[in-house]
Amino acid sequence: MQPVVHFRNVNKSYGSSLAVDNLDLAIEPGQFVTLLGPSGCGKSTTLRMLGGFETPTSGEIFLDGQEISKLPPNKRNVNIVFQDYALFPHLNVRRNVAFGLELKGMASDAIHKRTMELLSLVKLTDFAERMPGQLSGGQRQRVALMRALAPNPNVLLLDEPLSALDAKLRQQMQIELKSIQKTTGKTFIFVTHDQEEALTMSDVVVVMNAGRIEQMGDPHTLYAKPRSRFVANFIGETNFIEGRLKAIDGGLAAIEWNGSVVHANLNGQSPSVGNTVAAALRPEAISVLSQKPSNTIAVSGRITQSIFKGDHTSLTISLNNGQSVVAQLDPVALSAVTGDDVWLTWRENDAVVLAD
């Protein structure tokens, strides 16, 4: 399938600093794609280049096969939902949503019909005549979304649109956004620094760092098989296993760590035996045993902290090598307390070797 959006070797620099570094990114139509990264990673610049508010220093951007990097924003069939909504304060909800349709020269009864349809999609028909200043944050959010969808863009761009909402409303909007994306079948490109948001909504997450793509994939793959230390750290909580690579055997790496030899999935990497390697291990993948198991490799340590978090208990375990490891356990099944000597095990494939 032809990608709906294609960045080809796109660079963007401001003076001597490189905001986007040789970006190559193809996005399939109909997907919910999230650009995820810390502030300054280039995700917003990427979005603004697609919207037409920044011009690439070099490279090409294709929208539906057409090169658009030099076109002004009004000539591109993409629309943006801005971070602070950017609703026109002098127009009521209906006129805000109709704005793009009016500029398309649509007949006024057709405009009215489409506007009311869109507003009913987000249950705002009763608010059609209100001014933006009279709406709550969540309502403004929905109006901004419908205003951007109204002209029927190929791709909808969302620039951290949920960051101004409180936690509960944000979760609700995440689900709503996802369902609107499914109903309309449009390509959504969503920019955020919130990894939870990215995991909740996306078909594809593009993790960006320092202007480059660190890793791209579906949320499950990114979480379970992070390629780099950056991705492992940025998405969820992670323990790092660092040590000399002793051997490679059947897709598993044997790593000398804390006086034992532990195993980790090679994760597509090909490190050389004898070098130091790092692997990531998620806190919930760790089992904590009070006795050394006989049938599997285990690492010994002592519990130094135990924090009850409701659905899980977070244990900090100090290893003999001085490193601390965090494990998440079911509070009901947990009997160990702070000060206990314990043994840690995990399934070999739950630890994954990282590229750096």
Partner: protein, 263 residues
């Protein structure tokens, strides 16, 4: 409310305020009272009341013509000053403008140059260019004086405008002109209304510039000045009272309007 000077007697602050108000309002009240006096000279006490001065003023062709002339000049001044003022404000707030503060200072200079100096320099200027005194010259003088007020009001409003409103309009298909007409200009309405009222009021009130630049036709302040020269009479009080009421009403309404539409 926070209280500054908490050790200062409150009554002293209140007393000084009321002294100020009396000083401000008493002369105006006196002027208005005498406009109802049934006698040919300006003095107290008022023993007989009348409305005849108002009747006389409203039938005074000279007065009505002066009013119309002043209004005409005010409208033209407002028109030019608003266009020029908005234009300068947009220039100053545009991205990547060099010497922004210099442009701003130059645009605001006419507001602080003494009226008399301004008037004399304009008079010399039009003499050099061979422009006749009269309506055109007056409008020119008033416009120069009014522009800074429009610039300041529009700039203040522009600074409070979220950057991405124009971006949003562009994104939804507007070219830069349409975005300006449909988003920026409506956003500026309160500032424009305030600035325009200011233009009208300063123009109607202006005496010095009109005096130096005017021709044979008299504006309202010129007429009142001429009448005062011919001797005080309650008729002048009636005229002044009418002007006061109308301008105060416009000013207060404008203030109310800009306050309400502040978003």
């Amino acid at each position: 409310m926070r209280s500054y000077f908490s050790d200062f007697p409150k009554t002293a602050l209140q007393a000084s305020y009321w002294l100020f108000v009396i000083y401000l309002l008493l002369p105006l009240a006196l002027m208005m009272a005498i406009s109802f006096k049934d006698a040919n000279f300006v003095a107290f006490p008022i023993d007989k009341w009348t409305l005849k001065w108002y009747a006389q003023v409203l039938q005074d062709k000279q007065f009505l013509e002066a009013c119309l002339y002043s209004i005409f000049i005010a409208v033209m001044t407002t028109l030019f000053a608003t266009i020029i003022g908005v234009w300068i404000a947009l220039l100053i707030s545009a991205e990547g403008i060099m010497a922004r503060s210099v442009i701003f200072a130059l645009a605001c200079l006419p507001a602080v140059v003494p009226g008399l100096i301004n008037a004399i320099s304009l008079r010399i200027f039009i003499r050099v260019l061979d422009i006749p005194t009269g309506t055109g010259a007056i409008i020119l003088g008033h416009t120069v004086h009014a522009v800074p007020f429009v610039v300041i009001m529009v700039l203040t409003r522009l600074r409070s405008m979220p950057n991405n409103l124009v971006d949003a309009a562009r994104d939804l298909g507007a070219d830069s002109f349409v975005a300006f007409m449909r988003v920026t200009l409506p956003y500026l309405v309160p500032a424009l209304a305030g600035g325009m009222v200011f233009c009208v009021l300063t123009s109607i009130d202006d005496f010095v510039r009109t005096f130096f630049l005017g021709g044979y036709q008299t504006t309202l302040p010129m007429l009142i000045f001429a009448k005062v020269q011919g001797g005080m009479s309650p008729e002048i009080n009636a005229m002044a009272t009418l002007v006061l009421i109308v301008t105060a009403a416009i000013g207060l309404y404008a203030e109310h309007f800009t306050r309400r539409s502040r978003m």
